[in-house]
Each structure stands twice: as structure tokens, then as C-alpha cells.
Symmetry: D2
Subunit: 388 residues, 4 copies
């Protein structure tokens, strides 16, 4: 491993922690085609970015993202900023000839995604959108089983992403609940994941009918300064309230190009469901079931088992010689967690960069995902079926 790829991380919030960890761990656990250096972390606030540098283990800190991106030192740009700057930074990085790994969602709308894809293709850089859940070992195993025909023809994709962190009506009007800043609510944040997994496992969506809903329509502003925030705050006694302008939940039915039926639900209003991604796929030869809160397991029903001993198998996806990614980690039954999905992803990205091959999901996947997201929003507004 003579080559060392130097990474610049732009942004350092929640995803910054997960990404830094993945860059640090990937070369320790995978036999990569290049080594990785956590070179520069970049943000707007000098004190905050220096604190992040120290905590997350980067060599340098900077507040000038353009300079960083254009530095000849840097090989890879990892974009972790708020969604509305993904495009600008990624395009600049591509133009500078840097390989780009961009957090999801790729852009704010399909047009922006298209620009990003065009820039990356024009520059011939390796580009990937960070849908880390594709590298959950159980999901990679599911993909393998679908591709090799184990499930036969596909009939159903039933997916749900459920959380519960804003059920309390006193939970304040944070930026994630303001459309101007976040674009959408549960939809772009978590529905996006089960859409990408649907495309990955089932193929392209063809049309959707959807219903986006907001249960709690007003919430307290985060602080009294909220008064002048332009959020339509109204005084309720002493407390300032503002309008929630994004969806709390979104539910969708649809059809895939291969004729399979889709049923999706994303919600932040399911008490007890913390990070609950459940998928069920039914085919002509078998079925799969997955629950992210039990992410080391994949349930598999094989209709070709003998009649008296058919049943969903509870596969613990940790066998080194048999299951995706398992060989780089621990012995069988020694489970992995959330963060490993990033490490697996970044390991594949490093190798893709060295091979000069596209690292799925590419920016084209990001674009296609965005089209599905947009179709769902349009369907909910127009109350019609919308084709993708």
C-alpha cells in the first residue's frame, strides 16, 4: 500500500463524526489499495473547526473550503455540509479533479443533481453519494441473493423508516422542521434511504401515489430570538410559536418498472421506533426481511425447502468466508453496528478511486433518487399518481 490518499472533509456535524471515524477505521480493517490520511477538516467557524479537528483526529483545519479543495495536497473531497451547499462544493471539487464522496441527498432537486453528475463525469473523477445503508452486510447479502436469482421474480417491496424524536409537541421548531432550510421533513431525511434501498434491491420506480402529512402544525420557536426569525412566529402567552413547514410522515404506494409493488412509509411519529428501517421483499421463490435495529440479521424464506421444514431463516450475517464485509471484522456472532456501514462504504470508495471505476451509488443514483423524491412530493401535492 504505497499510495496514500489525502482526504478533505468539508463540514463536521453529526455526519462529520461518522465520516471521520470511517476514514480512520477503513485502512485498519480493510486491505485497501491505498492508505488514507485524514488531512484537512473544513468549516466556517474557526474555533469549532479546530475543536472538531482535535476531537475527530484530522491533521489540519481550515475555514476556506475553496482553497482546501483546490490544494494539490488533497485527493478526495468528502462533502458533509448542509444540503443546500452540496452542489456548489461537489462541482468545485470535480472541477479541481478531486474524487468526491457526497452525503445524501445529493442535491436540492433533480436539476442540481444533474449538474453535479455532469461535472463529475466531465472531470472523470470517481463520485459516490453516501448511501451507507447499501453496505450494511445484510443488505449487501440481500442484493447478492436477488441478483443470483434466489428470490425469483420480485412482487413486493415493503419498507418503513420509523423514528419517534418529535412526537412531543413541545419539541421546538428546529431547522429540520423548516422547509426553507431542510427542503422536507421525514421525506428527504429518512424516506430517501428506503427509496435508495428500493432502487438498489428492486430496480427503478415507475410511478407513485403519496401522502405527506404534518401532525403538529405549530411548535415553539427554539428561543425568544425566534420572534424575528421570519418563521411566522405567533405569541401564545409568553411562548413564541412557529409553523412547521415540513412533513412529519409520508406514506407512498407505487410500482417498479419490473412490475413489483411498492409500499413505503417514513415517519418521525412512531413511538418506540428509534431508527427502525424494516424491509420485506417477496419474490416467486422466496422472501427476505430486514430490520435495521437488528442489522446483523437477515431473515430468508426459501420456498424450495422441504414442506415440513420451511421457515424464515434467521441468518446472522457475520461469517467471514461467506458474508459481505464480514471477513474484515470479527469472528462469527461478534456483531457490527451502525458506524461499520460507513467504514464498509469508505473502503469500497477508496478502492474505486484507485481502480478509477464508478463507486455505486454514483451521482447518477443520487439524481435518480432525487427524481423519486420529487415525484412523491408532487403526488402528495397534486393528489395524483406521478410517473418518475
Amino acid at each position: 500500500m504505497s499510495k496514500t490518499l489525502k482526504v478533505a472533509l468539508i463540514g463536521y456535524r453529526f455526519m462529520g463524526k461518522a465520516h471521520s471515524n470511517a476514514w480512520r477505521q477503513a485502512p485498519r480493517f480493510f486491505d485497501l489499495k491505498a492508505d488514507v490520511e485524514l488531512h484537512t477538516i473544513c468549516g466556517r467557524n474557526p474555533e469549532a473547526v479546530e475543536a472538531a479537528r482535535s476531537e475527530l483526529g484530522w491533521s489540519h483545519a481550515s475555514t476556506d473550503w475553496k482553497a482546501v479543495i483546490n490544494s494539490p495536497e488533497i485527493d478526495i473531497v468528502d462533502v458533509c455540509t448542509p444540503n443546500d451547499s452540496h452542489a456548489e462544493i461537489s462541482i468545485e471539487a470535480a472541477k479541481a479533479g478531486k474524487h468526491v464522496l457526497c452525503e445524501k441527498p445529493l442535491g436540492m432537486d433533480p436539476a442540481q443533481c444533474q449538474e453535479m453528475l455532469d461535472a463529475a463525469q466531465k472531470a472523470s473523477v470517481v463520485h459516490m453519494v453516501c448511501h451507507n445503508y447499501r453496505r450494511i452486510p445484510a443488505i449487501a447479502q440481500a442484493k447478492k441473493m436477488i441478483e443470483d436469482g434466489t428470490l425469483g421474480d420480485l412482487y413486493h417491496y415493503r419498507a418503513r423508516y420509523a423514528q419517534d424524536w418529535i412526537v412531543d409537541p413541545e419539541f421546538p421548531l428546529v431547522w429540520r422542521l423548516q422547509k426553507g432550510v431542510s427542503g422536507s421533513g421525514a421525506h428527504g431525511d429518512i424516506n430517501a434511504h428506503i427509496i435508495d434501498l428500493g432502487r438498489y434491491l428492486m430496480g427503478e420506480f415507475e410511478e407513485v401515489s403519496s401522502f405527506m402529512n404534518t401532525f403538529i402544525k405549530q411548535r415553539p420557536l427554539e428561543d425568544s430570538a425566534g420572534k424575528g426569525s421570519g418563521l411566522g412566529g405567533a405569541s401564545t402567552g409568553e411562548r413564541q410559536m412557529g409553523e412547521v413547514t415540513v412533513d412529519d410522515a409520508v406514506t407512498t404506494i407505487g410500482r417498479f418498472a419490473n412490475g413489483a409493488m411498492a409500499n413505503l412509509e417514513a415517519t418521525r411519529f412512531a413511538l418506540g421506533r428509534k431508527n427502525h428501517i424494516t424491509l420485506e421483499i417477496n419474490g416467486s421463490k422466496g422472501s427476505l426481511y430486514f430490520d435495521f435495529e437488528d442489522m446483523n440479521r437477515l431473515k430468508y424464506f426459501n420456498n424450495e425447502d422441504p414442506d415440513d421444514r420451511k421457515g424464515f431463516r434467521d441468518i446472522i450475517v457475520t461469517e467471514g468466508g461467506a458474508h459481505p464485509y464480514a471477513g474484515s471484522w470479527w469472528p462469527p456472532g461478534h456483531i457490527l453496528g451502525y458506524e461499520h456501514t460507513f467504514v464498509n462504504t469508505f473502503a469500497d470508495f477508496v478502492n474505486a478511486v484507485m481502480d478509477g471505476t464508478p463507486g455505486q451509488p454514483t451521482f447518477e443514483d443520487g439524481l435518480r433518487n432525487q427524481r423519486v423524491l420529487e415525484a412523491i412530493e408532487q403526488s402528495s401535492e397534486s393528489r395524483n399518481w406521478v410517473k418518475i
Copy 2:
């Protein structure tokens, strides 16, 4: 228990077995307000009905349902015939002053259901549609918890009824797959159950968007006589094929009058799912989850539990002093099965008859269910949202 109610069972197929068992068992396990006599079983084929009489334990057999219904011997008419004769028989029974328990679906369409309801109300008889799943103890417990405010405001009803008995494309074109005979496929057969449970637990549906789909569009006719069956049979080599004219699966999104969101799916194409009814209800104070293949359990998340010990409780609904119906059966942890849902239902019906009070679900529930079923079909055809 001086009074004995004499029952006539019209029809004796699959449901005849379950109903006969329930009439036989209810007085043995419940302290009913009247005793029950399995008086007459009625069907068209004399040999078959006599065999059923003997096997199922009825005193008399008859092929003349009108005579049976109008006999002064009979107190209760239990209608288990194919769907298209429910209305005629139930109305005749009501006119004869007999209490009527009718299998679901109540009628073929809302108009028919309305006639049935009118007849029963005019005759002042006790009427019930046999949605036996309302008397699953875990469902009755869920109802109690929703009614007493345990869940708070309701946000989500997510229900699925999945089976797998026609995944094989060689499975023949039985009557249940022919619209002229059965009305619909998975929709009327199993979607009907999760619609009724939705209305029972959540309140009335307000509007729906739905997608009914047929995966296998042609199937072998049941026998060569199928040629002249008018089913559009076409010869494929030697085998005769016919059109499947009902849905294999139906998926629905919708809204309840109380603002909660609905997500329904019924399918006969989910390998490994045998009689898999799963429900999740999320409210502002807690959540419930139920799986019919594990019907003695109810999962309950209480958001008021201390922060470090919150989690879905796995309630085994078998405590005599605490859980609905449990006191009539066995000690804690000694589980019940499918057939007990009928026994519980019939016990309540007997007491309703003696009290002269309506036994929910009444024919009005049957009518309202039918309206939802119809709206879903209309939505699927028109590809629009349809109000109930």
C-alpha cells in the same frame, strides 16, 4: 341457564367447521345467559349436508333453507353461504324474526348491505357480521387501551394481511380467482379484515388511494371441463388457461376522520407469510404492535416509562383477571388459537341476543366496511383519491 337458543347454520364449508365448533364450545367455556343447541345445518346437497351434520355435530340436516329459517324451532340463523347469498338469507331470517349472525363480507355491495341492515333493524333482531378477529384477546385488549386513552392521540395505523397460497403460477383458476363468483381477490377476502380492524381501533376512514394488482394474469383451469366455462379459457398446448379476474394484492394509503394516516396491504404473494396479520398503531403516548401468527401477544410501548427502561412490552394476553376473554379459558401462558376467536365472538353474540342489545360489529359495521372496500376498488380503477 334455563333458556336454550336453537341455531340454524346455513352453509357448511370451511367456515361451517369453525362456526360449528364455536357454537359447540361457547357454552362449555363461557357462563352464557342462555344455552345453545346446534339444531339444524342446511345446505343444497343432501348427502354432503348429512355428512356435515354428522361430522360437525348438528341434530338435524336440511336442504330447504327457507323452511329452516321460518321454523318456529329456530332462534338464531348463522349465515355461512357464499357471499352472493348472504343478503337474501339474512333478510329472510330477519323477516322471520330470527337473530342473524352473518359471515363477512356482509353483502356484495353497499346497497345490498343497506337492505340487510334495514331489514334487521325493522325486525328488531340482533344482528352481527362475523368479524371474529375483533375478539382476538390481544385486539380486544388493544381496543381497551385505545379507548381509555393509553395511546393518546392516534397518528398511524399500519396493517398488513399477507398469505402465500397462490404464488405458484400452476395453482389453478379456482373460484376465488374469478371476479364473477368472488367479487374480488385478496381485497374482499383479507383486506376486508384489516379494514374492519382499522375502523374498530381507529375510527372511520375518510379517504383512500389504492393500487390493486394481479401478478399472474393467466392460470390453468381447474379441469378440462373448464373449456366451456366461459372464463375465456385459451389452450396452451394441451393445458387450458383462463384469465385471473381478481387482484392478487392490494395496497392502500389513506386518512382517518381523526387525522391519522392509514397504510394497508393485503397480498397472497408473500412467501413464508401464512396468515400474517400485522398491525402497528402509533399514538402520542404509546404504540401497539400485533402479529396474528403470534396472536397471544400484544406489544406495547409506553412513552411514560422511565427513560432508561422504555421498550416494547411483550404482553402475553392470557391473564384471567386482567385480559379480555382470558378468564374463560386456561391459566396464564396456556395459549389460545385461531378457533377461539370464533368462540369468543359467538359467546358475545349469545349474550347480546339475550340482552336484546346490538352485538358489534353490527350490520351497520358491515355496511361501512363495504363502503371502504368499494372506495378502494374505485380508487384503484380511477387512479384517484376517493372519499368514503
Copy 3:
């Protein structure tokens, strides 16, 4: 089915309810070699036995068990009395040429069991001890899989029977907690079941080391009359306390004749465990796991599955053509409950009577079980390993 077997039930408490139900239901669900008549129920208290007759559905009631047993009307004697009269009644029944089904435990000690076996063999009657859990469909399926070599050589039998009904120290000193009346506590009551299942599935026990324990050594007497009950009652303030003279829990390690290791635990002190029988069997080719509170399922690990798709299968044991007893009941996924284990057992007993063949578990099994029970008690007292 021209022949009708007439049954006399001696005793009518908890087991009387379960047994009456099984006699009533067996001919309705199974295609038996003879019909069954619930002829006479017999007990000591005239009013109580008449009430039981009416409630449980028997034709006659009697207080004279000897007369009943010797009546030429009776074909089968079902012994449900307290344990200390099993021997006398069963022997009398055998002498009268009646087929005998006796509740477990067969007798009070091995000597008594031997006498019962001798009497039954001498009279050439069909004899069975009612270990109904052998006819749980999942257990019958497990037996089939062990017998056909599916598991290979057997290494481990790990079984637990856990309940929680006497955890409260205020729970009174009922007869089941008095050795003079009940013989033992958790040991004879529930350990007996997992011993019988162990012998059924694994073969004979060879030696055991055991520890029987009583956590709550004194309990309140059932009423103030307890003072003179000879139970060693001592006054604690106003309340009368008595010594608990049986085990609350018993835990055992041991070895089977085939070299497999045994680990057993029976307890009434496991809060949250209601009727929790769990078994795990590990062999050289696979493993099985069973939980009675989920009795319609059998978990099966097949080591011959491909490496990337091995996992415990969750078999729902309800497939008519494939699983034991399932064909007599309901469609796949329509689950059975506790009471069905008795119905399955009694159906097999009726056919055994008609065939004149032994109906396992015979009185010889009852005797062998008793020897294991005795060895465990001796081991706990002597603090030594004891051979069976």
C-alpha cells in the same frame, strides 16, 4: 365409525376441564376409528360433580368410582384425581378390563408405578400416561426430525420449565406447597414434563446431579383454621404461618445413555415466565429450539445449508400435508393452543384402543419418568450424582 367408546372421567378439577374438552373435540376434528361418548363423570361431592357434569357436558354423574369403573357400560377410564389415588383407581380399572388414560405423574413412587404397569399388562388393556406435551405438533415434528437422523448425533438437551405464580411471599401455603399432599413442588409438577420430553426426544437418562431449593420457607396459612392443621403453623402477630415443605425450584445436570449432556431447570420463581417451557437440542448436523409460549413454532438450524444462508428456521408447524396433527385442524398459519395438545393425545389414544396397540407414553414411560424424578430428589438430598 360404528363403534362408540364410552368414557368415564374420575376427577374433575383443572385437568377435568381439559380432559372433557379433549374427549368432546377429538371425534369432531379427527377421523377416529371409533366414536366417543362422554358417559360418566365421577367425584366425591354430589353437588360439585353434578355441576361439573352439566358444565363439562357429560351424560351421567356419579360419586361411586368403583361402581363406575366396573360398569359394563364403560370402555375407557380417564384418571384425573389427585396423585395419591392414581394407582388404586388405575389398577382397579385395569382389573375391570378397562383401557386407562392416567394423568401424570403416574404414581407416587416407582414401586407404585410398577404395580400399575403390571396390572395394565396383566389385563392386556391399553394404558397411557397423559403427557400431553408429546403431542404438541412442534414436539412431534422435532421427534420425527431426530428419529430420521436430521440432527445427527445428539450432544445437548437443555430444558427449562419456568413459571412465576408463587413469587409473592404472601401467596398462601396451598396444598401444592405441602409435601405430604403433593409429594414435591416444581419438581413433580413441571420438572416432570421436561423429564418426559427429554426421554421422548433424547432417550434414557443415565445419571443426574441436582439441587432442589426453597426460597420462601414460611408462608401464611390459607385461613385461620390453619392453626390446628398440623402444618407447623406459627403465629406471626395475628397471621398464622406454616412451613413450605416442597421445592420452589430444581436445577439438574446429567447425562443420557447416548452420551448427550442434560441441563434441566424447573422453577416457580421466574417473574414474567408464565408457562415457559424452552428446549434446545444440539446435534452433529443441526439444532432445534422450542418455546411453549410460542408453541406453533419450531426453530431449526440445518448445518447443511449453504454457508451464506444458514440460520435458525422459524417453522410454523401448521401445514396440513406436512406437520403432525396439522391436517386435522385449520389452514396454515391459523394457530393452535394449549388445549389442542390434549385433543391430539386423546385422538391417538382412541385409535390405540381400537388397534389394541400400546399408546405411548405407556405406564412403562410413567414408571421410567418416576425413576428419574426419584433420582433427582435423591441427588439433591445426598448431594451426590445418582444413577437412574
Copy 4:
């Protein structure tokens, strides 16, 4: 965090990977009282230790453990060597005034452990034996609930550690199956863990009765060189066989000082069980259940819940403000894996070093564990109960 603790890792096999990861990650996720430097890794083979240094991320490599330990550069010695050198290295490290973290088992026998404890105490260094499973968040939560009285009086500790990696009789006679090298089989390797957890959660063991067993008594030698290995190899045709001199499985019953009953089982012969540690603890107020293959969950039964809503709660132990260690990692429902148990442990050790307070489990725990291990072996040999 001005202070930096410099670590030397002695040994670098399987545990070396897990330990290196923990030293690397602890300061990234925890707000420690000192920073950590992965200073020197030490082993016998120069090439292998250099490769390990590079792969695992240490600054220096050495083959001279004494020099490393006595270097003034080093603050902490982490002992990961084979069991038979734990004592020598740990004692030398203590004498050199270094804080010592030693892999389990602490020593080869109680006498050796006592020497290690004496040396550490005499040197006033911080000492810890690496029973990392104590810092599984669910176990730490269980400890908290037991200590605060949530479970009340304790009645049962039922623990099992099951694996399946040597079921195949063709699996060779590796060093772990040779008593001279490994000391024991499943007993010291995995039984040791559930013994330590038992002492941690329940208190001290008082006496045990145990049965250690070897199912496969001969295995193929690892290679033909095995012929002269002194392992009693015998030629079977061409293949060389040797005696297995350790236990494949060990099962134990016992009693704790507080009167609770113990039931332990450790086996390498349970097909389908990969790293299956299951614990159940029953007390007078509630019960806990844990399964390491589902390590982010703790099941809790609270007997004080209302009668109709009691049930085992499925607590996902990932709530930052509520559950042990969770706040240092990811949001709720984003699960942790095997390696995090080490990181949590090492973070606590670093803080213990800085505070100069004992870091449980100390070498005294290691000693006490060893006494229980020895008692179990003695009991199995003597076939008697043995007091600890």
C-alpha cells in the same frame, strides 16, 4: 486533556486487533481525563510484530518485552499474550510501576493470580482484568438495575455461552484443544465469561456441582509434523490422530452466597449458536434477559406494571441521556457492536489510571474468578459439590 498516556501492547493476535482498536477509538469517542498514544507493540517474531504495528497503527515495534515494560516512556502495559505468560509480564509491569490491563484469564491458577494481585497492590498501580463484557451497555444497565433494587431479591442466574466452531470431527487438534497449552477448553475460554458476569451481577458463588465433557475424543493433528508432537498421535490410515485433552462443554449448577441458584452452560457444540451468551436473572420484583447476539437490547419484566400490561420490555440500550456509554456513541437506535465493549472498557481504564482508583474488574476479580473456575474443574473430576 494535556496528559498523554503511552501504551505498550504485549501480544498481537486476535485480542491484539481488538485492543489496538480500543486504544485508538477510546479518545475519539470519550471525553477522557488523558489522551492515549499507541506507543509500542511487542511480540517475539520481528517480521510479524512489524506487520502488526503497521496494520494496527502503533508507533513502535519491539521484540523485547522486558525492555518495553521498563522503558520510562510507557505508562500502561496491556497484556495480550497467551495465558501462561500473563503472570510474569503483569508482575514485571507492576514492579516497573506501570498500570496493567491484562486479558482474561488473569493467570493459570489461583496461586498465580494471587501473586499478580499482590504485585499490583504492592506497586500501587491501577490493575484491571479485561472482562470486556461487563461494559456491554445492556450489562451495565442490568448492573445498575440490580444495584438500585429494581429486581428485588435475586433467585436465579441462568447463563449460557454457546458456540459451534468445533462440531465437525474433522476440525483439527489446534492448541486450544490441548490441555497442556490452553489449560482447558470451553471452560476457561467462554465459561469464564459467564462466571465473571455472574459474580458481577449476582455476587460471589458459594458452591458448585459440575460436569465437563468431551464429545470428540480424537481429532486429526494439524499437520504431519504433529507425529512427533507428543500429543499421543495415532495413525488412522494415513491421517494422524491425537487426543483431545480439554472439555468440549461444561455444565454447572450452584449456589451464590446470597442464596440465589446458578445454572451455567458453556459449549462449543451448539450448532447455529455463534457467540451466544444468554443470561436470565429472576428476582422478587422483576426479571432480566440478555442475548449477546442481540447485544443492544435488554429484556426487562417489571412485576409492578399493571396486570393487563405486564410483559418483558425490549429495551434498546442506546439512549444517550439514559443508558450507560450510549452518550459517547450514536443517536438512539443506531446500534453498537462487539468491539465497542473494549472501547468502553479502555475508556474507563484510562480514567481509572488518571484518578488512581481501582478499575473493576481488578486483579482481585481475576483471582476470584479463577477460584470458581478451579472449583468447577475439581467438582467435575471428583463428582462432588465443591465450595469456593
